[in-house]
Symmetry: C2
């Protein structure tokens, strides 16, 4: 395959929407999560996000990137006022409804009802989870870190609870998320199913990685 080199001037010359598709494709495959919140007035909200990032296991912290004045505005408002939110894996059967959750619904509309998802609750945790999702995570806001170069923020949360089918959890803790049909995202609007190639043993010098037997 012949390869093309794009420099900064080439990126700058792209029409805005073209550049958005191009640059959003570069990182590689991304996770697909529905971010669920509820306002103090009781209106639930869903936003489709592909920027969830693992920050640490102990304490168990996860982050995601939010833009101050976009479709995700209701979400970050609700997170800042209520302190809690959930991430919910998107599975192939949840398409295209999960994609549609990114449309600009009014603040008094719930993407749950508008897009056909059902709310669930864990104990007295204020934020709903998505019942159609097989893996949901309840988080408490720890900090929002401003990224001054473009006005985005890294929203950091501590895991309060995890809801996941026991049958996909391996003895060593690894969760076989492809067995849940969790999907991956590329670019702004590409959705992908996946098959595991392999799991490999912990990398050590002078010792080729071995394939791990795994669910």
């Amino acid at each position: 395959m012949s390869t093309t080199l794009f420099r900064q001037a080439d990126l700058a010359a792209m029409p805005s929407r073209h550049r958005a598709h191009f640059v959003n494709s570069l990182s590689g495959f991304k996770s697909a999560n529905l971010l669920a919140t509820k306002s103090t007035a009781g209106v639930t909200n869903l936003a489709m996000i592909s920027s969830v990032v693992h920050l640490g296991a102990d304490p168990a912290l996860m982050g995601y990137i939010t833009r101050p004045k976009t479709v995700a505005r209701d979400s970050i408002d609700n997170i800042e006022t209520t302190g809690v939110y959930t991430f919910n894996h998107v599975h192939s059967l949840m398409l295209p409804a999960a994609h549609q959750a990114a449309a600009k619904f009014a603040s008094d509309q719930s993407e749950f009802s508008e897009c056909g998802f059902n709310e669930g609750y864990v104990d007295d945790f204020f934020a709903p989870y998505v019942q159609e999702s097989a893996l949901s995570i309840g988080l408490a806001l720890v900090e929002t870190v401003p990224i001054r170069h473009n006005g985005t923020q890294l929203v950091i949360g501590k895991i309060e609870w995890v809801k996941v089918p026991q049958t996909v959890i391996n003895d060593d803790g690894y969760i076989a998320i492809e067995k849940l049909d969790s999907i991956a995202v590329s670019g702004l609007d590409g959705y992908h199913q996946s098959q595991r190639i392999a799991r490999f043993s912990y990398p050590e010098i002078g010792c080729a990685p071995k394939q791990l037997h795994s669910l």
Copy 2:
């Protein structure tokens, strides 16, 4: 499938390695990139990372999460002293060598030669790219943002150049990375191939998403 609810006390009770596998699996699928750098002494370095996150298209910014005292230490040292680095997609044929790049090689060893990858260079850009990778991105360090809760850092870079085969770029800018056989990661050590289910049109109120025809 019966579902299990794990609370904070359950996470705290997990053995450390078990918790690492479990919590690292939660975010969903992650990108697989080789981070390539070169020290001022001329030693090249590779690190396998799964935390690359899109931050913005204009300016074109990407981030990744680094831990201060781990295998990625040479990488962040090189980034801070030279100001430049590259992300390189991992394809299935690069396994398990790319996984092995995460082993704790000494600072004077290059993971390029130790793991069987070849260095390439764009003009006078100081950091190497990985020749075996079909999609490489040259970045200049913009800022490292400390995450005080666990000592990790968000490393923010501005895209200087992108090397990608023209044949996988759609007219609208979307790059069909699955045609490059770029892989996805789950947990600490799971690698996945993917097939695209669909691309969907920009979500708009009152209008069901349409499938986009696409490479």
